[in-house]
Amino acid sequence: MAGAHPKVDVLIIGFGWTGAIMAQELTDAGLNVLAVERGDWMDTATDFSTSFAQDELRYYWRKELFQKPAHETLTIRNTASQTALPMRSLGSFLPGVGVGGAGLHWNGQVWRFLPTDFTARSHNLERYGKATVPDDMTIQDWGVTYAELEPHYDKFEYLCGVSGKAGNLSGAIQAGGDPFEGPRSREYPNPPLDMPYAPMLFAQAAASLGHHPFPHPAANMSRAYTNPLGVQLGPCTYCGYCEKYGCGNYAKSSAQTTILPVLMRKPNFTLKTGCEALKLNLAPDGKTVSSVSLIDADGQTWDQPADLVILSAYILHNVRLLLLSGVGKPYDPNTGQGVIGKNYAYQITSSVGFTFEDKILNPFIGAGALGMMMNDFNGDNFDHTGLGFIGGGYIGVLQTGARPIETFYNPSDLTTWGGDWKKKVARDYLKTFSVATHGAVMSHKGNYLDLDPTYRDVFGRPLMRMTFDYTDNEHKMSDYLTDRALEVAKAMNPRDITPHYRKGSWDVVPYQTTHNTGGAIMGTDPKSSALNKYLQMWDVANLFVMGATAFPQNAGYNPTGTVAALAYHAADAIKSQYLKAPGQPLMQA
């Protein structure tokens, strides 16, 4: 079918948050943009209307909005000495599929990373010395600073209409906000959401211990909002079906509710759904991608030429497509050489359950990012001297809605049935909630992504193989956070307290977070990173790779705010610099 597909200015692969952001920015620059998405078109009225969106079985347990392992999965193991086996059904993380990607079923938790998160290696070495960063902890500086990203964080927060309270306005600490955050140039576009009982009890207890609780910044609307593109969102109704669900109320920000109503009208934009990228084809000199092999739902394949290629699928798919295409040098954990697949990281979570004797919490009320949090033990906001770990995480009560099946079925505890169990849940459901911790994962020499030697996808291509486990650093850090959460829980004076420390190896079964990171990381040196600070591949100048793929290690915050800020930062560089000298590196190695 050569010749039937004329070259486009820009080809975007994967159409979630970053695909939509890049399409919006680059069509604004007058470029002719084609986006391909292997899943379906999905929109609010058709696919998750309020008349049927509140369906726990369909959307969470039968995973309607998520990637289907039958089509593509990955193999997993904790260490290189084990045989990786396929993730046959989804568990620990839930990649999306279809227009909007995982940004459709996310919670709307919009964080900025700390300024010191972007210099994790140099900062920790300087403050704590070499002993705190062992040789096999392969953390790196990002090559981009918080100050450089601040305007782009701001742009995303206004696009999304984030509800929150600033804690640091240009260096001036603000009462009621997060005093630990980096300086922001202006207040959030919307005030915080109304806060239910459990988060308020947490906040009182945390403050009584000298901590600094504040409302979680939320891409759930606290009031009707019109964003800078002119797209209107409605107020959140706290229905409790937010995380893992599409929002029927136009109240949760997604590509659908913030960008697509404008983008889809543009004559210089085309979206092909049901269309998957199979391979990036390098030009003979290997310095640019000349075309991308695509396949549509009818099984037709063709090579689509493009001047500029934006790889904006989920992190796991970005890395796999690079590996399958032979673009970039694969990482070798034995030598530490190579960059594709390097520094895969994740998140480490734990919780402390609490049940009151008589306080009715109505835990079914919820929104994705509704809660009171504290960052007193996140990043390097506290002195790590003598603790034996670096990094941290947030602690808080996040009331996303206690949907009953998720509340009562725990694959790690098979004793939750029978007459006594029934009496207990009837007595306690309305009076029970938990304090959550959400910790960073540092990158490690032995945690990486490569191609599996055995298992294949529906096209007969190798699955990607994930080799990952928590290290001593993560366990010590998570235990420390859980101890702090336990102290706050005790200060709430509940009848029962149940801490759930994260013990042992990473387990693919229970849901944890969809915060996979790394594999084609950004940095300052092409020997140790795949991308420069503009997410441009060091040695393939017309290829930009979006997403948490670029994170050299993960921080103690949810990734989407930083993912979007990096995309806007890249779009700015493409518009202001790259298009003046197309096909050239924006930075010299």
Binding site: D40, D55, K68, C239, L260, N362, I405, K422
Partner: protein
């Protein structure tokens, strides 16, 4: 496709979901979605395409379970969430019917799961690794349970005393009870998940009859606006639960 095409839109919504199961089972259809090209002319949605789920028919009995299998599942449900002075248990709430429908459908077929070999038991951290689909696993496991109890006490599971049934289920959960040809603990994990799903999912799927599960705990169901109650600290939510299909009182004469 042409997005002004209303009736075609409905077919699209239905067919793509059917294709999902079929494609996955065949393992050969590469992409289980319709290809569409969307450009800047007109809205990219079609009217009347909302994919509203169909209710299970409560009058109809088992599609998947045989007689002896149904006897097992009814007995197990009656022990796992028993009827008591708080109200109906899993049996009364239709959980066996729920599980039957699930096993007869896409879930039972593992339609969206990765089910290609080679097969290896793996480590607990690697999750479900059985070559059985959920439907196949139930079939093999229930036969193995009845065989084990027959050997031990000349009775199918359903014929044991409640205490003996509890003890058997407890041994399955702890991994102390092996089953011939089946990973007993992996199956119990699935059974417990399906019992909880059946007791607490929306009544349209055949379980949670009369919203018994939701009434037990005080869950209001598929309500979509909680705004007025967010700051009513400590107060019990005043409205009864409602399902996607409404409340029985709305349609009973």
């Amino acid at each position: 496709m042409d997005f002004s095409d209303g009736p075609g839109g409905r077919e699209r919504a239905i067919s793509r979901r059917r294709m999902l199961a079929g494609g996955a089972l065949l393992g050969a259809v590469p992409v289980a979605v319709a290809a569409e090209t969307l450009t800047g002319s007109g809205p990219p949605w079609a009217p009347n395409t909302a994919a509203y789920p169909q209710s299970a028919d409560p009058a109809h009995r088992y599609d998947f379970f045989s007689g002896p299998e149904a006897a097992f599942i009814e007995a197990a449900c009656a022990r796992m969430i028993p009827k008591d002075d708080l109200g109906p248990g899993a049996l009364e709430a239709g959980v066996p019917i729920f599980i039957d429908r699930q096993l007869a459908g896409d879930f039972g077929k593992a339609a969206t799961w990765y089910m290609q070999g080679p097969w290896d038991a793996g480590l607990p951290t690697q999750g479900y690794q059985s070559r059985y689909t959920p439907a196949q696993m139930y079939r093999a496991a229930i036969a193995a349970v009845d065989k084990a109890t027959q050997n031990a006490s000349n009775n199918a599971f359903a014929g044991l005393s409640g205490e003996d049934q509890d003890a058997f289920l407890t041994r399955l959960a702890s991994g102390d009870q092996q089953l011939e040809g089946v990973d007993a603990k992996a199956w119990f994990k699935l059974l417990l998940q399906n019992v909880m799903e059946g007791f607490f999912s929306d009544p349209i799927y055949g379980g949670n009859r009369d919203m018994a599960g939701w009434k037990l705990i005080g869950f209001p169901g598929a309500r979509y606006d909680m705004t007025a109650y967010v700051k009513q600290y400590g107060k019990t939510y005043p409205l009864p639960p409602v399902g996607i299909g409404g409340r029985p009182a709305w349609s009973r004469s």
